[in-house]
Symmetry: C2
Subunit: 343 residues, 2 copies
DNA sequence: TCTGGTCATGCACACGTGTGCATACGCGCC
DNA sequence: GGCGCGTATGCACACGTGTGCATGACCAGA
């Protein structure tokens, strides 16, 4: 039938009116008489008219698109966040460009530039090491920017953020172990520069201090920086667990669930029973946590909610409404990997 | 400095040339003298010019965007595919719209219409129940379409696909168990209408038949249709494992890894040792498979590769090159959940 | 019949970029 | 000096949609 996309001009020709009339009729503009409005709308439906978002964007200077940059698409941690964002974006008829930056600063700059070229109406960046290196570039786009679990030290007044309170989460985990009667509680962390690492360690230390326990440095193992990725995290937990175990801990708090899973594997290999001989608590509550054996007690991050919230903040900012940074409180999910200290 | 985006007109004003000259200079058009070309390019860089992809798209009728629909973004199975697509798309300077359809036909139509509105240059659909209901709509967009692991029965000549050979994969799994000496081998499947379910069951049956084993219907449990999702799959495996176990099997092949994990949980609860008393083999090789206990022997689907391949097919189709449907052969990953039959 | 007013529609331009065609300039040659 | 030619540039239009303003039609009231 139609060998290409049909435009309002095509409709105008058939309806024997001008394209302006068609445009107005399709927008229910009251200037147009009810009769022609109905006729045009019927014709548009019959001809299978689908508006050209490109042309509309050029005119209205709004694209109805959002740019979403994430360190790794394949990481299940982020995909929950993406799902949350997609959820509210779809409900608002917004399209989302998703791409991953691989934690590579150069790539991150490319991504931002691509978003700029595409004239997105908003940008969400999840867990990048975003520094002030290209804050200026972001500012140039003059578009709402929301960071999720931003780990950069510097804050800029035109950039908003949604994050989880890592310190409070760590305290929750350690407090749980204290409540179970544990006194010698270890921590296995990662060595990267992310603030989350630092905050969780601080939460661990403060919770111990608040309980009147002087923490032994030998209880804490932090892997050297450099490595990153799913496999690496698990491997780190596996490798560094023995260090703290030899220091005589009866319970362990890990930077994240993957490190905890690594610790569980190390326990299994060494014949240490979990939770009978050693309790293990993780952080994040990734899906994996409920399927490993024993299933992992962990601090739940409301990832989907964070995604939704970030997207909602973009909408508010677009509407010119005032907006505040959000810090969410995580909660504890108790499963099978922790138990009261015996005797 | 600049309170808005700067255009080639702005550059033209400063350089005291026409916007056409700027446009040509930036494209290294030989019509422009070397002197002005250099001057314009320097100016563009200084002023921080970033071309407007929207305006360019309107003119060139190419957007440089791809629409990607996936049943569930949060599902780690798909996120690997998305990562593969993103990998080659980014390398080609293409932007990808990602959205999820939740296996809802109505939502799928919305998604396709949105892609049409955005005038994407290609569409990739991962694992939808895509029927001929909107094949016509797809055709109207007149854009390359590639389906990944398409489970719909009908094929259309203008729609291409990348998929894994489910039957061959199932045979691989069952053959492995046969090689280990097992004779009574069960299957736990799902009840949805997807072809993959049917094909894996057929592969299972054919492998048994080829080994001269008359399969007992009691060895096969297929959950009723209706449910879907990550949790449900695991729950199905957990619930239906006892059925086949009571039929006296010594080994089990599962529709996918999640079902297999459910079976592992059921074994653990019932005190059945894996793999000593019962071998379990899954399908997909999701990340979870390597972290459960015991780690799962399974059929690996090259998900990232499938994503890359699909995107490359889009590129070839855009270039007008001929293109063939791809069927990939999966391979077996042996871990700890299977063992030779005792005695 | 003329005037003033309301209502429906079209004209023309805008958004930012790309491009066919005309044009202006410079230069060499007869 | 005029002609022809090649080179560099600008004009004008196109892409599809939205919108301010002018215009035309129609009608009521004086």
């Amino acid at each position: 039938m139609d060998n290409s996309h049909i435009s309002i001009k095509d409709i105008a020709r058939v309806a024997e009116v001008s394209h302006s009339t068609v445009s107005r009729a399709l927008h229910d503009n009251p200037l147009i008489s009810a009769a022609t409005r109905a006729r045009v709308q019927r014709l548009a439906a019959e001809m299978g008219y689908i508006p050209d978002a490109i042309a509309r964007s050029l005119q209205t200077q709004r694209t109805g698109t959002i740019g979403l940059a994430v360190t790794s698409i394949a990481d299940p941690f982020f995909s929950e966040i993406v799902a949350g964002i997609d959820e509210v974006a779809s409900a608002q008829q917004l399209s989302v460009f998703v791409t991953s930056s691989h934690n590579d600063p150069e790539r991150e700059i490319e991504v931002v530039e691509t978003f700029h070229r595409q004239r997105v109406d908003g940008i969400i960046v999840a867990a990048s090491k975003l520094g002030n290196r290209y804050a200026e570039r972001l500012q140039r786009i003059r578009v709402p920017v929301v960071l999720i679990n931003n780990h950069a030290a510097e804050k800029h007044d035109f950039i908003y953020s949604v994050s989880v309170d890592n310190q409070a989460g760590a305290k929750l985990a350690v407090q749980r172990l204290l409540d179970l009667g544990h006194r010698r509680i270890g921590y296995v962390g990662l060595g990267h520069q992310l603030l989350s690492n630092q905050h969780r360690l601080e939460g661990y230390q403060e919770a111990l201090a608040a309980a009147g326990i002087t923490s032994d440095p030998a209880w804490v193992a932090v892997a050297p920086p450099g490595l990153t990725g799913e496999r690496d995290d698990v491997e780190m937990g596996r490798q560094y667990f023995p260090h703290v175990w030899e220091a005589g801990v009866s319970a362990l708090f890990c930077y994240n669930d993957r490190v905890a899973v690594g610790a569980l594997m190390a326990c299994h290999e060494a014949g240490i029973a979990v939770p009978a001989e050693c309790s293990v608590v993780g952080f994040d509550d990734i899906n994996l946590a409920q399927y490993v054996f024993p299933s992992l007690t962990t601090v739940h991050q409301p990832r989907r909610k964070m995604g939704r919230l970030a997207m909602q903040m973009i909408l508010e900012l677009q509407a010119g409404e005032p907006c505040e940074n959000q810090t969410l409180l995580p909660h504890l999910v108790v499963r099978e990997s922790d138990r009261a200290r015996e005797r």
